[in-house]
């Protein structure tokens, strides 16, 4: 017998309809939050930032590639990571390419940022077969100014980070081995999305969301939330070419 509760179609329908009420409530709350996000003030970006891209040095305004909105996912891939980006961030990035053309036609330029040097980002991009533009924030103040990375000193001032470094759970030790960085360096990168608008030559910062948030997680988590069997609690991730069989 299956380990799960078995029901008739009628029982399932009744339970499903009850669930639909909660799903509708979630949809309403989500719509309200979307509205509030758009109401946040825009903050002009005063500093001049430059980045290494596949096509040479570019300013923040140039990263928009002619569109008026820039949405970047910050992949945890610091200069100290010897073996590649965070596998969880890598899994998230695996879900982006299918949306690129659709977003570009909605006046949005999607990209990814990481702090490792551009050569390493491009080699990793090739390994993963990605299409999206991958931009390096190496040696720029940008990730520190926008909360996408911490200096060693900043990290020492965050008790939660120090606790994870001093007493790492098993999955985090495994993660450290996967990226090839000590936790004191590995945990200085912040996974998250950052949004900018560009109007009449001015760039504005509009929104940032960092982990933990359901959108700072691989797209397939939405599907795993709807599959019959629970997944393990520990947040372990693998790159798609490194799954243990």
């Amino acid at each position: 017998m299956p380990e799960h509760t078995i029901g008739t179609e009628e029982e399932w329908q009744a339970a499903r309809e009850e669930l639909a009420q909660l799903e509708a409530e979630q949809g309403e709350r989500n719509a309200e939050i979307r509205k509030r996000r758009r109401e946040l003030p825009w903050v002009p970006v005063e500093k001049d930032y430059e980045f290494d891209t596949e096509e040479g040095r570019k300013t923040l305004a140039e990263l928009f590639d002619g569109r008026s909105q820039l949405l970047a996912y910050n992949v945890m891939f610091g200069p100290d990571y010897e073996l590649g980006a965070c596998p969880g961030c890598t899994s998230l990035a695996d879900g982006l390419d299918g949306a690129l053309v659709h977003l570009r036609h909605r006046d949005v330029t999607p990209i990814c940022f990481s702090r490792a040097p551009i050569d390493r980002l491009l080699a990793y991009k090739q390994r993963m077969g990605w299409q999206f533009p991958y931009v390096s924030t190496y040696e720029s103040e940008f990730p520190f100014d926008f909360g996408l990375a911490m200096t060693e000193k900043q990290a020492q001032g965050v008790p939660e980070v120090q606790e994870m470094i001093d007493n790492p759970p098993g999955w985090l030790e495994e993660w450290s081995a996967q990226v090839g960085a000590e936790l004191k360096d590995g945990l200085r990168e912040a996974p998250g999305w950052i949004a900018f608008a560009r109007e009449n030559g001015t760039v504005y910062h509009t929104y940032t969301v960092t982990a933990p948030d359901p959108f700072v997680a691989p797209y397939f988590n939405f599907l795993l939330d709807r599959t019959p069997k629970p997944q393990p609690e520990a947040p372990r991730s693998w790159r798609k070419d490194e799954y243990p069989d």
Partner: protein, 245 residues
């Protein structure tokens, strides 16, 4: 300058942290929803369904492909369609990126449509996809799970006339509104236990929004979805967007 409200970094921080509280409430609701979904009873299926696939005729149990969980995306591509639904196509653009990750978690994901298998495979080739696609032509599968509708059912939806969106999509699929609306989109999840397939979860319409990766990104972009009150559908197949724009 911009018409949007401009703020200082401090103003943004203050409003952002208020919004973060709302976002966290929504995350807790999402967690509760996931818990309730996992408590739905499993419904053993009495009927044998068979499908045409690239590799020949397969039963529903065989579509699990050796894993114990199956997620079906019900892709709108009816027998009368010349090409798949543009919105389903935009959703399916993200599937190839998740297959390996789902497979490693004991989940097989496929698409099912009612058009003949040759049409499905030709369209898959045109779109450059690699996920498995099964045809339920001649099977009750789509009707039993509420994904396809009879001519009589469709004519009652169409009594007030077809909306401009439906007429446009129907034309793009090479069919009329009645033929187009015979199919509906959905996500249906199954578990295999004791050699038998069980229905575990099903969702349609707004419940499919999380599959639209671009909406998740647009919901964090400065202008949001920007679709106006009565949206003229902007979705195109990825090879049918105007080259400029």
């Amino acid at each position: 300058m911009t018409e949007h409200r401009i703020g200082t970094r401090e103003e943004w921080e203050a409003e952002r942290s208020k919004l973060l509280e709302r976002e966290k409430e929504l995350t807790r609701l999402n967690d509760e929803l996931a818990r309730q979904r996992s408590e739905l009873p499993w419904v053993p299926l009495d009927k044998e369904y068979s499908f045409e696939t690239e590799e020949g005729t397969r039963t529903l149990a065989e579509l699990f492909d050796g894993r114990s969980q199956l997620v079906v995306y019900n892709f709108m591509f009816g027998p009368e369609y010349e090409a798949g639904c543009p919105v389903c196509s935009s959703i399916a653009d993200s599937f190839d990126g998740v297959l390996a990750h789902l497979a490693a978690r004991d989940v097989t994901m496929i698409c099912v449509s009612r058009a003949p298998i040759e049409k499905l495979l030709a369209y898959r080739k045109r779109m450059g996809w690699s996920f498995n696609w099964a045809s339920s032509e001649g099977s009750d599968f789509n009707f039993d799970f509420g994904r396809s509708h009879t001519v009589e059912e469709v004519s009652s939806f169409l009594e007030g006339g077809a909306s401009p969106g439906v007429s446009k999509f129907a034309a793009e699929c090479g069919t009329d509104p009645a033929g187009f609306l015979e199919e509906g989109p959905g996500l249906t999840a199954f578990a295999l236990a004791d050699g038998r397939a069980h229905l575990t979860y099903a969702s349609t319409a707004r419940g499919l929004e999380p599959l639209m990766v671009y909406y998740g990104v647009l919901d964090r972009a400065p202008m949001g979805r920007n679709e106006g009150q009565s949206p003229e559908p902007w979705f195109r197949r990825h090879d049918e967007y105007a080259t400029v724009g």
